[in-house]
């Protein structure tokens, strides 16, 4: 009695088959990183066209890998927010077509809540609500008080660039390419994290759970493209590049940890759930795990394959199905995020 989930919010086309007990029977992800690498980022028109080409093969492969027929499906779940308009529409249209044809329920879910739910998929009943949830990716950096799988109260988040976007722009400044996160992580190996003292804006502000990464990018820019130096020097190499990457990475990790500390204090939560593509970063994972030991809280971070965009985390659709809450064919997409629930102490 499995469920099909579909995810097309950004540049990954993904589908998964999930049983009622939240077991992932199959999970297929087709990434467009290679397509986008030459542009240095996600190109929306390319993204939606590629989704369109890949969505049916990806769903087919998910069914085959799970060893089930499409007629075995009991429902279809699909990410409806947030994301790129054209990309979201491809996934939602496919989900509608399947639900209508098979006459089975259709369930829309939020991509951010699903990133948190990846902890439930990866760690089973060890994942407990309420908890503090951190979602950190190329497009999002937010902290939530997660009351239940479907109820997230935003505590704070970036006021300018997302952490993953900061990695992308730093990688561009260092001449490394795209996507920036894994490339900076690799370049940081052997680098000294204290070689450059980059700013940690808002980190010492204990009155808010917001973060800022824009000034960090600018600080890196001053190092690699010094003001008044003409022509612009080539990107650094060797030890200097490793030191810059390690120091930059450390500034992002420190900024996030400062707010995790405040969020745990503010909510009194005993569980911390982490999701999103940047949670695949090894230095961030290690720092958060160490933080959890110090704070004596339980921390859940999914394996990297469940941190980056995927459809297995769409298992959250089961939560709505079990509440008897389903959507009709008028289900609409919601490209934007709600930033109105900012926290003030």
């Amino acid at each position: 009695m499995p469920l099909l989930t579909i995810e097309t919010t950004c540049d990954e086309t993904a589908a998964a088959i999930i049983s009622k007990d939240r077991r992932v029977l199959s999970s297929v992800v087709a990434s467009q990183d290679e397509l986008h690498a030459r542009w240095g980022g996600v190109v929306p028109e390319v993204a939606s066209r590629a989704h369109l080409e890949r969505i049916i093969p990806v769903i087919d492969e998910a069914l085959v890998k799970a060893g089930i027929a499409i007629s075995d499906l009991v429902a279809v779940g699909v990410a409806v927010s947030p994301g790129l308009v054209g990309s979201l529409l491809v996934g939602v249209s496919a989900a509608k077509a399947i639900a209508a044809t098979l006459n089975i329920p259709l369930v829309g879910y939020d991509h951010i809540a699903a990133h948190v739910y990846a902890c439930r998929v990866a760690h089973g009943d060890a994942m407990q609500w309420p908890c503090v949830a951190l979602v950190v990716s190329g497009g999002h950096t937010s902290l939530f008080h997660a009351i239940s799988p479907l109820e997230l109260n935003r505590l704070g988040g970036t006021i300018d660039d997302a952490a993953g976007e900061a990695f992308d722009k730093a990688a561009a400044l260092l001449g490394l390419g795209y996507p920036g996160g894994p490339l900076i992580e690799k370049a940081a190996v052997g680098g000294r994290a204290d070689a450059f003292r980059f700013p940690r804006p808002l980190s010492s502000d204990r009155t808010r759970l917001d973060m800022s990464f824009s000034g960090l990018k600018t600080a890196l820019r001053y190092v690699v493209r010094p003001v008044g130096v003409d022509p612009v020097p080539p990107p650094p190499t060797g030890q200097k590049r490793a030191d810059l990457a390690a120091s930059f990475q450390e500034a992002i990790v420190d900024s996030i940890l400062a707010k995790l500390f405040l969020a745990i204090q503010h909510t009194g939560a005993h569980t911390l759930a982490v999701g999103g593509g940047v949670a695949a970063n090894k230095r961030l994972r290690a720092a958060i795990e160490q933080f959890a030991i110090q704070q004596r809280i339980r921390v859940l971070i999914p394996p990297p394959s469940l941190c980056t965009d995927n459809a297995a985390m769409g298992a959250i659709a089961w939560e709505r199905l079990e509440q008897g809450s389903v959507d009709g064919l008028q289900l609409d997409i919601h490209p934007g995020t709600d930033r109105t629930k900012a926290y003030r102490s």
Partner: protein, 166 residues
């Protein structure tokens, strides 16, 4: 016939002053091409412009990922980042025709990526990095519709600088 003004500033608060002056003098329908290198302060400038009309600055974040953010205020502020666009064909997806026909302010970061789609009737704001805390801000337009905004900044400055006490 259009005009221009250049102001050199040494403090971030002066960028905020420029944004406030602009906010009070911009027409209710305005396309602003915001030029500047990585880290020049384009999103920061947009935050200041939004704050000047009461849009909480927390709400205005980098649109690099979302490509387009629409903020409701006394004047609607549409914030676009063309950094990841490959060209004008991507604009169709964003509902470009609708965006430029609506009332309000439309701010485009990295406008050179979609130059051919930009209306001539626009104000260009160029932020140049001249030091770690200093910037040179240039406003120019081919359209006389922005004379008021450019004049307002000319009047507020002397020889391209703000006086120390406002």
């Amino acid at each position: 016939m259009g005009s221009s003004v250049t102001v050199s500033i040494t403090k971030q608060i002066d960028l905020e002053r420029i944004a406030r002056i602009l906010a009070s003098a911009l027409p209710s329908h305005a396309m602003i091409a915001l030029e500047g290198d990585l880290g020049a302060g384009k999103t920061t400038f947009t935050k200041f412009l939004g704050a000047a009309i009461g849009i909480p600055s927390n709400e205005i974040v980098s649109p690099t990922f979302g490509l387009i953010h629409i903020h409701q205020g006394p004047t609607q502020l549409t914030h676009i980042d063309a950094f990841r666009l490959s060209g004008v064909e991507d604009l169709e997806q964003l509902g470009w025709d609708e965006i430029i026909s609506q009332c309000g302010w439309v701010i485009v970061e990295w406008p050179s990526r979609i130059a051919v789609a930009l209306p001539d009737d626009r104000l260009t704001v160029l932020i140049e990095v001249t030091g770690e805390t200093s910037r040179r801000i240039t406003l120019f337009s081919e359209s006389s519709r922005f004379d008021g905004a450019i004049d307002a900044l000319l009047i507020a400055t002397h020889d391209g600088r703000f006086m120390e006490t406002p």
